[in-house]
């Protein structure tokens, strides 16, 4: 009794003062390099563009009103990011499924580690490697040699999709793998014993139980893809426009800082709303899972 009392007290009680101070450095860093920059961003977004570029003080919502007329990069990015995230999911799911449920023993760890290896190599180099492969001297030359004629691969939307799937595949495979790995195999056997075919088992057992993993995979891929800059620049030849490219242009080339700030602010707010929604849904999913396992 005395024990449990003390353990419970130990969680919340005394020593609060000193140990709590450990949060100060990180807290100061967040204030100085997260809150302050975001505040400046918002302040700039209600400002005006000075004649020679950059920022002039002001208090106007013009930039946000401009957003509605120059909304193409935003909608474009939303559509492309959603599409590519979906392709990524389609490619990743069977891999995660095979790794989690078909591979046994130590092979599993080796293969999972192998999925991660490309992820740990430089993003830029991975994209550059595809530039070589898709460029005029890569696959198109082989295609021409085989007799497919002139194929343009680099600087197409296809190349952008390929680059995105290639670069973000590990982020999709891993969470799905983790959720499938935890799946109770007796469910699969029960489903088979009850006469469900492989497709029925996947639809009725595997997919619902993998839902939290699929959801985290989607969020993990969708957010960075929205802000993607390198892949569209290097593989899309600037033709496939993402929010990242639009922002880079606005800040580095046309120097329309207030409008860029408004776009960035909308972007951040959108992402935070998205993640909040994801957390709410995933919490419900986890609860649903708990309830169904209680039954």
């Amino acid at each position: 009794m005395a024990h449990s009392g003390r353990a419970a007290a130990g969680d919340h009680a005394p020593r609060r003062g000193l140990a709590g101070l450990l949060v100060v450095p990180a807290g100061l860093w967040y204030v100085g390099f997260l809150i302050a920059p975001l505040v400046v961003l918002v302040v700039m977004s209600v400002g005006e563009r000075s004649p020679n570029g950059g920022y002039a003080p002001g208090l106007t919502l013009d930039q946000y009103a401009n957003l509605t007329t120059r909304i193409t990069p935003l909608t474009n990015t939303l559509g492309l990011a959603a599409l590519n995230t979906f392709i990524c999911l389609l490619v990743a799911f069977p891999v995660a499924y095979t790794l989690a449920l078909k591979v046994r023993g130590s092979w599993k760890l080796v293969l999972v580690a192998l999925v991660i290896v490309p992820f740990w190599t430089s993003f830029l180099i991975r994209t550059y490697a595809w530039m070589t492969l898709l460029g005029a001297n890569g696959i198109p030359r082989i295609a021409a040699w085989v007799g497919f004629g002139d194929v343009q691969l680099l600087n197409t939307p296809f190349a952008v999709s390929l680059g995105i799937v290639y670069n973000y595949l590990p982020l999709m495979v891993l969470p799905i793998f983790v959720s499938l790995e935890r799946l109770d195999r007796s469910f699969l056997e029960a489903s088979r014993d009850l006469g469900a075919g492989p497709v029925g088992t996947i639809r009725q057992i595997v997919l619902p139980l993998a839902a939290p993993g699929i959801l985290s995979g989607i969020v993990l891929v969708f957010i960075p893809v929205m802000g993607e800059y390198l892949i569209p620049t290097l593989l899309g030849g600037g033709k496939t426009y993402f929010l990242g490219n639009a922002l880079a242009d606005l800040f580095l080339q046309s120097r329309n800082w207030p409008f860029g700030s408004a776009l960035a602010t909308v972007f951040v707010v959108g992402m935070v709303v998205l993640v909040a929604g994801y957390l709410a849904v995933s919490r419900r999913l986890i609860w649903a899972g708990r309830e169904s396992s209680l039954l």
């Binding site: 450990l22 997260l34 700039m44 999972v112 991660i116 830029l124 070589t132 802000g227 960035a264």
Partner: protein, 338 residues
Amino acid sequence: MTGVSQVRDGESRSGEAQRGGRDHDLRSAHRAARLERLGDRASWIYTALVFAFLFLPILIVVIYSFNAGRHVTELKGFSTQWYVSAWSDRFLMKALRNSLTIATVTAVLATVMGSASALAMARLRPRLRSLVELLTYVAIIVPGIVIGIATLIFLVTAFDWLNPWLVYLAGGDAPHLGLGTASVIAAHTLFTTAIVTVLVRTRLQGMDRTLVEASEDLYATPWRTFVQVTFPQLLPAIVAGTLLAFTFSFDDFIVAFFTSGQDQTVPIYLFASIRRGVSPQVNAIATVLLAVTILAMLLAGLAYRRGQRRSGSATDTGGASVSAVVATEAAEPTQAPS
């Protein structure tokens, strides 16, 4: 007799029906088994293809780094000339020094501040804790490009305001504040600190409290409990966080692109040289980076495994290479801010 025959009759009749059913069952079971074998084979082939897809580009880069020819099409034989020319490239070496400095300082700062923040969080008042949690998650959620841009405009604004003051206070030889390695470190440390915090906090929450209680019951001071019980259990998460922070910082392009000013980092150098026109030198740099990364992963994996064997604890990953742990933990935004 008749009774028996009747019974037999009945048996055989029902047996026939059963046999028919069983045949059907057998056939469908057979079909299902065949289908499953087929599905298995298909999923294996598919997975093998995806692995080929993942490694083909990397393989190409490595092969061409040793190619004597200038162009991708001419495989002319083995040569290390691109390594030599990379090594003697003054700008590249400067970029490498910058990158290593930034990544090292970032990793140290993020590890110390992130771990400290994770440890402190349990002892904060609930409202303050939620605030810190919120900030931590926002730091992770905000896309890299926005962090880069926001840091850029913030620092430029701040420097515009500070520099005249410095001149006013210190005269003509006042230091002129500007973008550079330090501003990249500031931005990198922001989101890597948040990542370390999440990793360590997750580990802390999953920790067995009985050991801490046992230690307290044996009259260990809080400090000794921390050093002898808590810290060893947190170490894998801290090491994983350090590695992750270093890699993220070293690999980052987009944040550094906006905040580095005149100082180049390796990714910025690579980006510039790719845009200028592909030089095989890039392949050589890529191969060296790749080799270093894989070596570091193997060493970290070995260390992690040894540490686990010594502590005798079997985690759910069963002593996987540390990278697998890192990536899965990072890939799973585990606890929702409560």
